[in-house]
Amino acid sequence: MTQETGATAAQLKGYSPPGKPTLTRCRSPEKETFTCWWEPGSDGGLPTTHALYYRKESSERVYECPDYHTAGENSCFFNKNDTSIWVNYNITVVATNTLGSAFSDPVDVDVVYIVKPNPPEKQTVTIMEDKGWPFLRVSWEPPQKADTRSGWITLIYELRVKLEEENEWEMHLAGHQKTFNIFSLRSGGKYLVEVRCKPDHGFWSEWSSTSYIKVPDYFHREKSVWILLTIFSAFIFLILTWLLHMNSRSLKNCILPPVPGPKIKGFDNQLLKNGKSDEIFSALMVSNFPPTTSSNYEDLLVEYLEVYVPVEQELMQEESKDLHGGCLKCERSTSDSDSGRGSCDSHTLLMDKCGETKEEGRHTDRASSRMLTEAQRHQKGWEKDTLTYAHGDMVSPDMSNGRVKTWPSVFSPLPQYSSNPLDKQSSLEMAKQHCLSTSSCLTQPGHSTKEALGPSNWDFCLGNKQPHLLHPQTQVGRQLQAHSEVNISNIGRKQAPAGLQSPALRSTEYVEVQRVNEEDLVLLQPVVSGCGRIEGYPQMPKGKDYSKVKGVDSDNMLLLQREVMEEDWCPGVDQEINGGTGNCYTSSTVNTTQKPTACIHTAMPVQGDMALAMNGYVDTATMCTLPTC
């Protein structure tokens, strides 16, 4: 009764029977005794005792562990008398406390298969020499407890070696032998050696204690190797040098290819060596360079772009803005002799750019023709004006221009102009100015500068403030389409009576640079005039009219001065279309603050008239539409 109440009282306090213990392992060091260890479960809060019981094979008799102390805590040691080999032990551990007991899972043990010997003993490492090369000899003894002498246990050995500074061990299986040789030592290295053993069917022992050994320096051996290496490499080096020397020339050409020298016509090396500079430079001079006035004007003339910029074409202009003056070519010119022309005139350039913007051009074309009367031409930048339209067909009479050409490179560097009502008209003039500027840069005094009018040169002298003479070309470039010009003029005239709001109405006036004469006078030729020529009426321009450029003011506006007006001329109409006239040109308006009082074709000399131009062009047509005309 008391026992039960004691038990229940203990239970009420939260105590419980012990947890199940587990047998962790059993080991025999020499196959003559063995030990089993167990892990106790929870003790349930009460003092718990453990007991080990075993049963031998084919016997029902249960024995208890003879020795709980020799092998330490939670262990059972079976001595020689209690140990039988090749007999199956069925072992169970029981944990008991006041509340109850717990049985572990039984484990079957045959001592033969649980042998784990002690590590080998009396390990020695010595250095021995074999024909001058050292090697390590490791020897050891089997563990004392394991009886290998009678053959009861047979052990196999394994050793491992490493240098002191290394991390990885080098393993060697030694079999049944008790000595081992290690070769290929590093001179002066310090080695660590360890050995372990295992019975035929059992577990590996722990590694023995480490032995340290230091290999002496066998420097002389290594030195000979270095000597050999040095000789060999020197030999190789000599061979390479000889090879290089033999092939030096071809190698040099391969690595450092010769830079081609300049091939200048007329350049004589001998002259240079002689050292007479006058002769050299005179030899360089080609007699007919730069080409003089005898050369063909047409080769040098640049086409103009006639631009209509209606207001609602801003979108289009936005799109085409990035072409920066790129051409909206409508004319499918196929071949371009490209004589004297630069990239501006390049037929391929035009083809590329015109192909892109053809569609846009059509739209702008139609719209622009409708919006010609638009007086407000406050454009964002005049470069947008320059590329408004092109058109492919001449059918529509509304089409303003049969051909639109441009100099993209010329117009791109002029972003500073903006919001100018006369942008269109002045753009042409400004382009002209740039052309003229560059031409002045390149020409030398006394030389005809016609050749410099090639548009390829026109990029360079941007903003050059040299005064130029704008001479309205009497001869219209044959590349110009006369009827288109007449169209423009017609349209311009149409608009003029409708309401001459500003000279910007007419956006297609332009002047063509014919040449620059000796006095740096740019000879301009207006290609549009209100001279009333009808379409298709071919007429050669007669004579030359030109306006002298008084100067260029700060806004890059060309100040024109009207001078001698020669005979009436009309822009050559119906010029045959050159095959190569894929030019793009832009016309722009002239920002004339002071309108000239005479038309060109009236042949009245106008003195002191200033026609301010935004660019290098003089809008003679503008002048023509003045009341005096």
Binding site: E32, S58, K80, T83, V87, G151, W152
Partner: protein
């Protein structure tokens, strides 16, 4: 022209080598007959111990294979015994050393004799097994160990004769025939159940242990008779 010279030269070389270097086989005669190259006792022991070690290894493999397919038994053999329980074998070192070399040799021979028949039936039985628990390797291993048992038995017999010849082994060998010690039908000893199906697992467990005994006894015998570097 040079090609044919090379070919003929190679042929000549091969013919010469064929004629000059001949592999000569020398039969091993345990009884030292004339013309035989008789092996030494050390050689015999070496071969025998190697053979027994290999036999034990194969039987261990077979047994562990069976362990995989069967769920591990709590009670190995259960209430059953090995059919060689009649053969008294020393179960520790002192007993083995106390037994003496002649008796030890007898025990070895008895064990080997007891297992000859069951192992040869094992292979047949495994192939007929309904459970199909064995793969091809198991079959070949079973066949191998049955052959090995026969060879080992003959080898130990030859060695015993040699030892007697050398005077190492006394003539007091009372070689008891295994029939008195072992059940008459050893193989049927392992039959269990109503269906009389043979428990291969028990058989192999017993054989593994007995082959270990054989190996160990041979090693003790060797180190007793020929103490040397290996012992």
């Amino acid at each position: 022209m040079p090609k044919s010279v090379y070919i003929s030269f190679a042929v000549l070389t091969l013919v010469y080598m064929e004629l000059s270097m001949r592999v000569v086989t020398a039969p091993i005669c345990a009884y030292g007959q004339a013309g035989c190259h008789a092996p030494s006792l050390a050689d015999l022991f070496e071969r025998v111990i190697q053979q027994s070690s290999r036999m034990h290894g194969i039987s261990s493999d077979l047994h562990s294979e069976l362990e995989q397919y069967f769920f591990p038994r709590k009670n190995v053999l259960g209430k059953h015994k090995c059919h060689t329980y009649g053969i008294l074998t020393p179960d520790d070192k002192e007993n083995a050393q106390r037994l003496g070399r002649e008796q030890l040799t007898d025990v070895i021979l008895s064990l080997l004799a007891a297992w000859s028949d069951p192992l040869s039936q094992l292979h047949r039985s495994m192939s007929q097994d309904q459970n199909q628990n064995f793969n091809d390797h198991s079959y070949s291993k079973a066949l191998e160990i049955s052959d090995m048992v026969h060879e080992l038995r003959e080898g130990v017999a030859i060695m015993a004769e040699k030892m007697k010849l050398l005077g190492v082994l006394g003539n007091t060998m009372g070689y008891i025939s295994p029939e008195s010690l072992v059940p008459s039908s050893a193989f049927t000893f392992y039959k269990q159940g109503e269906l009389n199906s043979v428990d291969h697992h028990d058989l192999l467990y017993c054989f593994r242990r007995d082959s270990n005994k054989v190996k160990n006894y041979l090693q003790i015998l060797k180190c007793t008779i020929l103490p040397g570097l290996d012992c």
